[in-house]
Symmetry: C4
Subunit: 260 residues, 4 copies
Amino acid sequence: MKESTIFVYERPELRDPIFIEGLPGIGLVGKLAAEHLIQELNARKFADLYSPHFMHQVVIKKNSVVELMKNEFYYWRSPDDSHRDLIIITGDMQVPPTDSPGHFEVVGKMLDFVQEFGTREIITMGGYQVPEIEGEPKVLASVTHEEMVEELKGLPVVFREDEGGAIVGAAGLLLGLGKLRGMRGVCLLGESLGYIVDAKAAKAVLSVVARMLNLELDMSALDERAKETEEILRKVQEMQRAMLEQQMPPTQEEEDRGYL
Amino acid sequence: MKESTIFVYERPELRDPIFIEGLPGIGLVGKLAAEHLIQELNARKFADLYSPHFMHQVVIKKNSVVELMKNEFYYWRSPDDSHRDLIIITGDMQVPPTDSPGHFEVVGKMLDFVQEFGTREIITMGGYQVPEIEGEPKVLASVTHEEMVEELKGLPVVFREDEGGAIVGAAGLLLGLGKLRGMRGVCLLGESLGYIVDAKAAKAVLSVVARMLNLELDMSALDERAKETEEILRKVQEMQRAMLEQQMPPTQEEEDRGYL
Amino acid sequence: MKESTIFVYERPELRDPIFIEGLPGIGLVGKLAAEHLIQELNARKFADLYSPHFMHQVVIKKNSVVELMKNEFYYWRSPDDSHRDLIIITGDMQVPPTDSPGHFEVVGKMLDFVQEFGTREIITMGGYQVPEIEGEPKVLASVTHEEMVEELKGLPVVFREDEGGAIVGAAGLLLGLGKLRGMRGVCLLGESLGYIVDAKAAKAVLSVVARMLNLELDMSALDERAKETEEILRKVQEMQRAMLEQQMPPTQEEEDRGYL
Amino acid sequence: MKESTIFVYERPELRDPIFIEGLPGIGLVGKLAAEHLIQELNARKFADLYSPHFMHQVVIKKNSVVELMKNEFYYWRSPDDSHRDLIIITGDMQVPPTDSPGHFEVVGKMLDFVQEFGTREIITMGGYQVPEIEGEPKVLASVTHEEMVEELKGLPVVFREDEGGAIVGAAGLLLGLGKLRGMRGVCLLGESLGYIVDAKAAKAVLSVVARMLNLELDMSALDERAKETEEILRKVQEMQRAMLEQQMPPTQEEEDRGYL
């Protein structure tokens, strides 16, 4: 596998679908929100993206079955005219931050793929780390085109007027690269302390998305999902860390300790 | 050398061979097990894999002869119908963990190669780091397809029911990428403290493999092999570390010490 | 986006233009100087360079509008015969120092582009870190061809006679790679403590450039610009750091702290 | 520049030349030895190798003239039948240790090039770090083919019988990759404490080379050369370090200190 590859299981007919991204990041806010959205809508998986830029490992799923790290595409077809069709992406990981060209490659493949289905609009979701949170977590909104600020004004989001700030990873790149292709997009980042799997921030972000999409979502299962996710993640990282350390050439200090 | 390259010395006729991997990792469990298996079966070397993704160094073998880092393919042809033909890979190293695309490239080449000989099944071996071990080290099994759990139930292995965990490197990727090609596989990880070359864990893993393959293996030389391996490794790492440090641009701290 | 790509908005007719570079580096000296030059000359933007070697992020500009990291090309056409036409490049970032091949690719694209407009001469600007500065910051000059030292002798710059020193990044590579293409160039580095956005050093460098180009530049707005730049940068880095950390595999220490 | 490129200034007729490598490494032993050999033989420069895998910087040479990092090829044609023709390579740097594929690419280009001139034998030179040295530094020899140990037995070198050890970088890779092409080679590493530019170790290595090549070399200028080299290097690293740090995204700690 030399480039990221998308395995497509179904080619649904979609009408002007919105592309919604929620991949792992601060507080796992985006991933939690996307997974919850998928489950509540009973959205259907139709493609997997594998990439040589993802970690060189498999994760162990239920009943000891291994799978390559991947990102998964789901679609939801609106039953009526009061909603929009959706493509939702979530997954195990993003490209590590040390591999910028890999990020651009993966995000480019995502955009190529959703454009095949006529996508012209993007919503990306994530967390925004703050040292402390007063009351409910706020949602910071950023857009590809200035006129969208006006369009989104009724929503419970914060826009910054001053220049400054950065959105790292797919949540940012999808908008940045999408804009160069003539797409429009908004990024929604929920305030999070960042050290836990943050169901509260995910709820805040998803509430905004629900209002944008005119959807009613039951948020009650989100807390439970956050706990499970945290548990799984911890196990993955425990094995991963040990195996990665073993593969590194030893430092002087390790050698002094007799570490092989 | 732009891509990993396999030098093939012989093209044996093999019948539906199983591919067995044992490359360096935690406690060198997989490598020890593979080397022991090769020696006990008197398996025959038939190919070397070289890669620009391996460390940019040669290792010094007996009598001061240098060789590029490499992975080695051996085959064993069953003398009768009660065993399966085998292809076994072991070697000096895996791709460093900072080079995920390199890992995918190397593992892809391995799979291309063993598929030329009709391989459809894979066994990968390694260590699984735990803080302490009670009694004999257990062997954790993971599979590419859920039905295999049933098939392997008689073996002295542990299956996890809960999701969580990761298998880093070739032991994981071979299964993950193999699965995408329609291959089946199992990964066997022996519990290890990880800080030594772990003959005990290797024995545990290899015992499971022997039962799967209906082989009788004498394990008595494993401890001796572990000690030799540890000694060689230490010498390699000693020279390697010094040379690597010298090639790094100096940090402020080193410069303050007058380090060139 | 597999390679750096230049989006060209206008193809001005230019006569033997000088290419002036000021990208982020020590004390942001080069970037400040270039931006100020652009503003004072009212130079016109005509192209953007995007690169998969830049950070995988967008920056948030005024009114919450996101943009990919980029480098920007401006041109200025001299109104008379006593000045030279100019192409000026500045931008959000340089390729990270861990990606040397990326640096060569980006700088190669820059040179390809400015050569389309007939460029044969280059001026690069930057900072030169010193532990303390006596009086006004000095400007260190380095050249592609020895005879240029004589030509530039009237300027308030310092030439070193002894071998030693290195110019890292675009300010160096543009000269080094340009020289291989038969171009001539000079690098001007202003003394800077490096820990602030250094308007003083930028002024020193820009004064030299102004004399070389026979331009009169009002420097009074430079201090204000430095303060604004510092503020924007701090916000960008704050968000960026948090998001990057979240995407890294956890170290042992972080895991002990329960950091996800 | 997408790949390493060799600029060739002359195509000398050489008869079965030996290729001798001395690039920066431990104690700069190899580089010192190669430079001294070039000067004593009055060898002639005929090609430069530039690479996008070298550091993205220029070095400042005498009189403030900048040059890309490079490796340089010299040749020496024997005046009579009692010596061999030589190709010698030295230079500013090797590929950083984080870029293994880059190392393979550069060394591959070197071998392609010297094979154009009929080279079939290689001598590589370097340092071998030890914690302390008793008496004169010893020279450790390693070879591509076991029979060479016998051939070289008269020389004042040490051969190790036991397996273990590694030769990192061009000194190792040239032999390893050369061997795959059917070339023969020896690596000579002089004992060095490694923290200084080590004229003593260079002398030890070069003495062995002189005996192998039947050359008489005056070693008296080596100490002076070592001092100059140390001074130049220190200046290069001082500027380089500051510029590299400035280009890195800030860590939390740096941000707390208000570092930009």
